[in-house]
C-alpha cells in the first residue's frame, strides 16, 4: 500500500508491504503523524515551533525543546564539528537575506555560525550570539527516520518512506534506487537494503558563505548523493558533499556513509 501527503514543504510518500490492509492503513497514518510532529516542532516559519521560539528568544533566555528537536540539534552539532563548519544550521541569516525564509520578528538576527548554539542536558537551548537556526538541511531526514521507527513499532517489516527525495528503505530485500539529476532525468544508482539515501544539488544548498546557485544555472547539473544507515545522516551529509565536492571526504566514513556524484557527463552525452 502506498500513500502520499504534502508535508515538510514537499510530498512525503510511504509504502508498506507484507501486512493486512487495515493494519497497513493504520500504520501509515501513524507514520504520517510522526512526520507532522517533526514539521510542527522544527518549522522555521511557525513562530510557535521549537525553532521559531529558539530564533526569537534563546539569545535572551533558555528555551526548552522537545526531545526530538534536541536530538536533531545534537546531530547538527556533531555534523558541524566533523565538517569543520561546512554543515551549519545557523544559516537563517543568509536564507532570510535571500528571501528564501520569512524574517518576521527576526530583525535582531546577525550572521554567525552553529558554535553559538548551546544545548543543556535538560534540553534547554541558549544562543550565545543572535543567530537564527534553520533545520531545512536535516529535519526532513529525521522525519523519515521517525516514520520508519513508527512503522517498525506498528509491526511493519518492509517499507519505504520518501520525503521528496530523502528516502529510507526497511526490509530484507534489495530495493532499486534511482537518482534524479537536475534537468537530466533519472539514473539507476544502485540497490539499497535497510538504509537511507539523500540527494541534493548545488542550487538547493546554501553554503557557509551564503552561496546559492539559481535553479536555471547550467554550471552544475550534478546530483550529490549520500547513502547512510539513517536518513538524518544521509540528508545532512549531502550538504557537506555539495560544498566539498569530495566523495572521499573523511566525514562520510566516520558516519558509516558512502557518497557519490552523478550526472556530470549527461550534458555531453546529450550533445
Amino acid at each position: 500500500m502506498r500513500r502520499a501527503r504534502p508535508l515538510l514543504g514537499t510530498i512525503v510518500e510511504i509504502e508498506v508491504d507484507g501486512v493486512a490492509q487495515a493494519d497497513a492503513e493504520r500504520a501509515i497514518a501513524r507514520a504520517f503523524e510522526a512526520v507532522l510532529l517533526v514539521q510542527r516542532l522544527m518549522s522555521f516559519h511557525d513562530a510557535g515551533s521549537d525553532i521559531g521560539r529558539i530564533n526569537r528568544a534563546a539569545f535572551r533566555k533558555p528555551v526548552t525543546v522537545h526531545p526530538w528537536t534536541a536530538r536533531v540539534l545534537r546531530h547538527a552539532a556533531a555534523f558541524h564539528a566533523a565538517s569543520n563548519g561546512l554543515f551549519d544550521c545557523a544559516v537563517g541569516f543568509e536564507l532570510m537575506r535571500r528571501e528564501l525564509l520569512p524574517s518576521n520578528d527576526l530583525d535582531h538576527v546577525c550572521k554567525g555560525d552553529f558554535s553559538a548554539v548551546r544545548l543543556s542536558e535538560d534540553r534547554a537551548v541558549r544562543l550565545m550570539a543572535p543567530v537564527a537556526i534553520d533545520l531545512g538541511g536535516i529535519a526532513k531526514g529525521y522525519a523519515v527516520d521517525r516514520a520508519i521507527a513508527s512503522l517498525r513499532a506498528a509491526g511493519v517489516r518492509c517499507a519505504t518512506v520518501n520525503a521528496g527525495g530523502d528516502l529510507r528503505v526497511m526490509g530484507e530485500i534489495d530495493q532499486p534506487i534511482h537518482v534524479h539529476v537536475p534537468g537530466g532525468g533519472l539514473l539507476q544508482a544502485g540497490l539499497l537494503r535497510n538504509g537511507a539515501i539523500a540527494t541534493s544539488s548545488s542550487f538547493a544548498t546554501v553554503g557557509r558563505n551564503g552561496a546559492l546557485e539559481s535553479p536555471d544555472s547550467t554550471t552544475d547539473r550534478r546530483a550529490y548523493s549520500v547513502v547512510a544507515p539513517s536518513c538524518i545522516v544521509a540528508d545532512a551529509l549531502t550538504k557537506i558533499l555539495v560544498q566539498s565536492a569530495e566523495p572521499q571526504h573523511p566525514c562520510f566514513g566516520r558516519f558509516g556513509a558512502t557518497a557519490f556524484i552523478s550526472g556530470g557527463d549527461l550534458q555531453s552525452m546529450a550533445a
Partner: protein
C-alpha cells in the same frame, strides 16, 4: 545497511523516463480516510462532496511545470482544513521526457541495461520537489468554501 552501487562504469549509466501516474487511492477511499464512517452527497459543484458528519471533501487537481497532482482536501464544518490526501501523482523529469528525438540517442548506449519506458519507478532520490502547487490549491479551495459547500 547494504548498498550495491551500479555506477561503477560510465556505460552503466542509463537514463529512464517514467510515464503514467502513481495512483495512491480512489476518491471514495480518500473521502473515507478524511471523514471515517460518514456518507457523502454531491456538493455545490463537480468534485465536491458533503459529508454526513459535517464538512466537505473537494477533489482538486494542480498542474505544475513538471507534474500533475490530483488530491483530496477535507474541510471541517467550521471552514478549516482537516486532512489532505494525494490521490494521483505524475511527475516528468525534464525535457527528455517530452523530446523523443533526444531520448532516442540513449537507446543502445548500454546493451546490458536498455532504456526503460513506461515502467513503475519507485525509490527516487533527488533534489526536493516542492508541494507549493498543492498549498496554493488548498488555499484556493478554503477561500471558496462557502460556495463549494452549496445550500
Amino acid at each position: 545497511m547494504k548498498w550495491t552501487p551500479l555506477l561503477a562504469a560510465p556505460a552503466a549509466i542509463v537514463l529512464i523516463a517514467p510515464a503514467g501516474a502513481t495512483v495512491y487511492m480512489s476518491e471514495q477511499q480518500a473521502m473515507q480516510a478524511i471523514f471515517p464512517g460518514a456518507s457523502f452527497s454531491p456538493g455545490g459543484r463537480a468534485g465536491v462532496f458533503r459529508a454526513s458528519s459535517g464538512g466537505i471533501v473537494v477533489i482538486d487537481r494542480v498542474l505544475g511545470k513538471h507534474e500533475y497532482i490530483k488530491y483530496a482536501v477535507g474541510i471541517t464544518a467550521g471552514g478549516t482544513v482537516k486532512h489532505i490526501e494525494i490521490l494521483e501523482y505524475n511527475e516528468s523529469y525534464g525535457y527528455e521526457v517530452r523530446e523523443a528525438s533526444w531520448r532516442s540517442q540513449f537507446i543502445g548506449k548500454s546493451a546490458s541495461s536498455p532504456l526503460q519506458l513506461n515502467i513503475d519507478i519507485k525509490n527516487i532520490s533527488g533534489a526536493t520537489l516542492s508541494c507549493k502547487h498543492i498549498t496554493d490549491g488548498v488555499r484556493r479551495v478554503v477561500g471558496q468554501y462557502q460556495s463549494l459547500r452549496g445550500q
